[in-house]
Symmetry: C2
Subunit: 428 residues, 2 copies
């Protein structure tokens, strides 16, 4: 057996503590599988005195992650601090500059700086891996980068924010309003300090952008993800979708088109009988479609100590075994700049709007849609509640651009109150 | 870019032709992702003149797979012939002896000779990989060997024979008898030349044994798989299971217990709402449960040109990238001999038997079960059809051993006709 692989772990929250526990408790298993002993040399976190449920006395302590990252006695810098900038970025750069391999669970860091960090890693002959950054314990980065590497990837889809899926599931199953379900998730500690990272789709958008880079060989471009949160989804939307055989999910979709890369993260309707539609609670699912393999579905816990630590350990064991992979599946300098395309792949859409109680109101809405070239598949108007009545429309396949044209023409009709809710029906 | 990686492909059936097409059509993609050009030097098959829908004129031809395997101008021997012995085994051994890496889709070869071949590969410094041998396009070998390597694996389950799942799905959805569904599958070309490989669970058992070796660090032991085919499942069983909220699947289950390794491949009842229960048609699914990651579910096409070729290419690209992994996830010489344990993990069971029209018949059966310590959850007797009446029993959790005791005592009651059908209800 060769020299031990020595880790420096920065960040000792839930995931960091989980990694420490695995390294301590599974020493023999890890050595059997990787051919090397995996050891921890040093750790760093903000608060040295906090009880993390695991002994740290065998390891050197650093208050400063950068100091940890550059220690002579570590081979792999394990970055579990989080944050797209600040100490996480500084320490990751310091580690790579010192020729250390880096394993990170930090999706935000890579969504913003993945390209430059991957280039730095390659310049220094280091590897930078991030399985734990996307979909928790599901080994999707590995599947996409390696297992499915013989495919042209056609589409990548995912429900990758367990908190949003929890909120939507609770609305559906317990009849809670969005606000009630949000507050329940908050009270259970499911929400990020800035909840918009979850419910605004930002966190899931980071993950989608990372998957797209690997899938299509393009530089990560999070800014180009069309983001829409779940805050405007109502319980009525969920019920109506259910009546039509659909469920609403915060769904990320990326596909490469002739015009460029489409990336959307938005609440969508998916068939209730599809794997995505059957997903409940905090579970994540990623669907990859390749020209050879067809559709591959992977499902598992998207967060939590064990699942995330499992993903971190997968990357560490790859390094212990001598596997040297490019961060995004091919040399960073060969990744093509991402040409973002407004998502214009045509799809059926679900629309909900409030119609004022005026004669001919429904006809005017139908006319506006018709003039934008949008064909209506189903339309239902419900009884008036005070001055407005909800109208639900399912269109035949159309483009988001045509819909936006129609929606921008709606105020001039004088019969629509407020902004319509527009949800794509994703064919899965 | 380093030297090209040169392939020798033996076996040009559906999968072999698929691999050739990918290498020809995706040369740039493969080079971008792996850092090496992937080329074909030579091919071998039984019939040189057959039109395989792809040009082979650029490649040297060998009639003999052993001759192909040892050519100086190949780096990787790609074995797509099939068969547990004969030319596939001879050529694989020849390639490994010559220090060539081997990629194979041959589950039977590895189920019987995996241990000796893996040891040979290691002795010669070669790698032997087999992603395509299990669950077609699903990158489950990679997930289990690498992505989940930080876990103690608790249970591996899988629906891994698409033909059986097709037959059971057709019985359920179209109300066909087993024989009708079998004949339909046969007419569609879904069955192996020896159909018992499919419907007897042998093919799926090979796959289960390979997964167990990786999961538990034990030498492959296919002989220890408790096999039961789907031939005795009737449409009544499927309907009764459905009424109780279950579906019947040919399910492989392996788990390590204190007594040894349990491996069963048998028709089981699984909850209709579980991912396994929702699987229809020829699709495969593998479920892995780890102590850290929880439950990971992977679903995809289990056979066919594209999916299987995708898996073969994944292994080839790993080799092109310089990834060197042990066949079963750790050095073959460190794999523990498999101590097989009769599956005695307790579970609820579904029983169907034919009761003779005699007074007190049901009471006698219930007494026999009670004397074997088996507690009855539900019991239904249907009206007599000529001389016998079907009786369906769902037990509380019990062991297969207790059930077998009870069943062996049934003939003495003189009220049971024929052999009961016994199906485990798997908790998933």
């Amino acid at each position: 057996m060769t020299e031990p692989l020595r880790l420096g772990i920065a960040g000792l929250g839930t995931v960091g503590a989980g990694v420490v526990k695995i390294v301590r408790q599974k020493a023999q298993l890890l050595a059997d599988r990787s051919g090397r002993h995996v050891e921890i040399s040093a750790v760093a976190a903000r608060n040295r005195d906090k009880d993390r449920g695991v002994s740290l006395s065998d390891y050197a302590w650093e208050d400063d992650a950068v100091a940890l990252a550059t220690r002579d006695d570590i081979d792999v810098f394990v970055e579990l601090m989080g944050g797209s900038d600040g100490p996480a970025k500084a320490a990751t750069e310091a580690a790579l500059n010192a020729g250390k391999d880096v394993v990170t669970a930090n999706k935000a860091l890579l969504a913003y700086h993945g390209q430059s960090l991957a280039e730095l890693a390659e310049t220094k002959g280091a590897v930078l891996r991030f399985e734990a950054a996307v979909a928790g314990g599901i080994p999707i980065i590995k599947a996409l980068t390696e297992g499915l590497a013989g495919n042209d990837i056609l589409r990548v889809m995912g429900v990758m924010n367990g908190t949003c899926n929890y909120i939507l599931t609770r609305m559906e199953e317990a009849g809670l309003t969005y606000q009630q379900a949000f507050e329940e998730a908050d009270s259970l500690g499911f929400l990020e300090a800035d909840p918009e990272l979850d419910v605004g789709g930002i966190d899931a958008g980071h993950k989608l952008a990372l998957l797209a880079s690997i899938a299509y060989g393009t530089q990560v471009n999070f800014e180009a993800v069309e983001l829409e949160g779940i805050g405007r989804v109502t319980i009525e939307d969920i019920r109506q979708a259910g009546d039509m055989g659909f469920r609403i999910k915060l769904l990320g979709v990326s596909r490469m088109t002739g015009r460029g890369l489409e990336q959307t993260m938005a609440p969508c309707l998916v068939p209730a009988t599809s794997p995505l539609g059957q997903l409940s609670g905090g579970t994540n699912m990623v669907v990859v479609e390749g020209d050879q393999v067809g559709q591959i579905v992977m499902r598992g816990a998207g967060a939590g100590e064990g699942p995330t630590a499992s993903a971190v350990m997968g990357d560490i064991l790859d390094i212990a075994r001598g596997t040297r992979l490019s961060t995004f599946g091919q040399p960073a300098t060969s990744l093509k700049p991402c040409t973002p395309a407004r998502a214009t792949t045509s799809a059926p859409y679900y629309l909900r709007m409030s119609l004022l109680d005026k004669p001919g109101a429904l006809a005017r809405v139908a006319t506006v849609l018709g003039e934008a070239g949008i064909s209506i598949n189903r339309m239902r108007q419900y009884r008036h509640d005070e001055n407005t009545a909800p109208v639900l429309i399912v269109t035949h396949k159309t483009t988001r651009a045509a819909l936006d044209d129609a929606i921008s023409a709606l105020p001039a009709t004088g019969v629509v109150s407020g902004e319509p809710v527009v949800l794509r029906i994703e064919q899965v």
